[in-house]
């Protein structure tokens, strides 16, 4: 039996047909849609390296079957920058050295974008650490990651305030 779904990935509509319903969103992105920015770490929902946004919410793409996403809107790390202009969270990670080897970074950044959009944590560093706890970094760049998310959260809040003023 084959399954056909239609979803939006980084703004582009994609129609995908599977012969096997067991394909995860992570494998779909990396192996079928040529979007290898999303990383496979543990492949069992423990490390967060595969974090993407589905309908604006962060999820582990390794724990999500692609076939469940008919009609969904997916954003990956490849969908954040506008041309050569980095997303504020990406720019902030560069500025604050929010990484060492970089493997967990796409997941960290997607998780941070989701966290800031949730609007629950403001600029409280402890709540940011809690909100980012689903993203492990084996290089332990946590200090820089927290600083990067804090700074990005401040900048994005300021931007919003300026625009609404």
């Amino acid at each position: 039996m084959s399954y056909t779904i239609s979803l939006t990935v980084n703004g582009d509509r994609r129609d995908v047909t599977f012969e096997d319903a067991r394909v995860t969103l992570l494998d779909l992105l990396r192996e079928r849609l040529a979007l290898p920015g999303t990383k496979k770490g543990c492949d069992r929902g423990q490390c967060g390296a595969c974090t993407v946004l589905v309908d604006g919410r962060r999820i582990n793409s390794c724990l999500t079957l692609a076939v469940t996403l008919d009609g969904a809107d997916v954003t990956t790390i490849e969908g954040l920058a506008r041309g050569d202009v980095l997303h504020p969270v990406q720019a902030s990670f560069v500025e604050h050295d929010g990484f060492q080897c970089g493997y967990c970074t796409p997941g960290q950044i997607m998780s941070a974008v989701g966290l800031i959009a949730e609007g629950d944590v403001g600029t409280d560093p402890e709540r940011i650490r809690e909100g980012m706890s689903g993203n492990l970094c084996r290089c332990a760049a946590y200090h820089g990651i927290t600083e990067a998310v804090l700074d990005a959260a401040r900048r994005m809040t300021d931007d919003k305030t300026r625009k609404s003023a």
């Binding site: 039996m1 319903a21 067991r22 069992r44 967060g48 582990n60 724990l63 989701g114 809690e130 689903g134």
Partner: protein, 284 residues
């Protein structure tokens, strides 16, 4: 593997009706426990995804109580407008894995998975939660303590779907709390945890519902302790939390802690939960 994603309850129940163990159907919502449990094996059964079934998602006031739909996620709980008796459930919602897990994983899935360390179970037992099971044969309701029958065992029949949880009417002023003790602060499987709902009168405990998780095959209400706490102020309540009143527990030694440490951790977790509630510090 075949995948079904019905949009009506009738279609979902029809897919399960008459199935036997030879053609297994796994009912999933977020799938956050189910997927990792498959390990390296290729699943060849049928996957029934209930997240698109109409009316399965969300929290609503029903009569004098509350209904938590079977596809309601932990993030939905955290963001729902609920009275302070649910503060323990909200605190637990914040500790179920990571936010990525909370956005997919459901309350009903947590009880169906029936892990002794399920974060949702102690607060739900303290809320006197009931489980609604629906099949083509009809609807039945069990109290949560009867639904979870053992380690990863439930009373759900193969053709039933957990369509909702119900929380009966709560006394005005009831307040909930939750404490999880683990090897680190976040993203951890608990060594011991406590969910409690108290009503207070003049700074003293009028009624107490205390549930301990991760220290017995199924989380347990501590009836002796609940009775002993009535009439106590905070200082007295803390003194009354003694190992003798927790004798129903049977903590095990495992990779996360020894039985002895678990026993001590339970006492501490109960004291922290009582303090959290009686000082008004519990918030989701």
């Amino acid at each position: 593997m075949s995948y079904l994603t019905p949009t009506t309850l009738d279609a979902a129940l029809g897919a399960l009706s008459g199935r036997d163990t030879e053609a297994p159907v796994s009912v999933i919502a977020g799938g956050t426990d189910w997927f990792p449990a498959q390990g390296e094996r290729a699943y060849n059964g049928t996957l029934l995804d209930v997240t698109r079934v109409e009316g399965m998602r969300g929290v609503s006031a029903v009569g004098t109580g509350w209904r938590i739909g079977g596809a309601t996620t932990w993030s939905d709980i955290l963001h729902a407008d609920l009275p302070p008796a649910f503060d323990g459930l909200k605190l637990a919602a914040r500790e179920v894995g990571s936010v990525q897990i909370q956005n997919a994983g459901t309350v009903a899935g947590n009880i169906c998975n029936a892990s002794p360390a399920a974060d949702g179970v102690p607060p739900l037992l303290s809320l006197d939660a009931e489980v609604e099971l629906t099949s083509t044969r009809g609807v039945r309701r069990l109290v949560l303590a009867e639904f979870i029958t053992g380690v990863r065992k439930t009373a759900r029949a193969a053709d039933e779907i957990v369509t909702a949880l119900y929380i009966p009417a709560l006394s005005a002023g009831a307040r909930g709390g939750f404490t999880k003790i683990g090897g680190r602060k976040y993203l951890v499987i608990s060594v011991a945890m406590v969910g409690a709902v108290l009503t207070l009168s003049g700074g003293r405990i009028a009624t107490a519902r205390i549930t301990v998780g991760s220290a017995s095959p199924v989380a347990l209400r501590m009836g002796d302790l609940e009775n002993a706490l009535v009439g106590a102020d905070l200082a007295e309540a803390l003194e009354r939390v003694t190992p003798e009143r927790l004798a129903a527990l049977s903590p095990i030694s495992d990779i996360r802690g020894s039985a002895e440490f678990r026993g001590e951790a339970v006492v501490e977790a109960i004291r922290r939960t009582l303090t959290q509630i009686m000082k008004g510090q519990a918030h989701g």
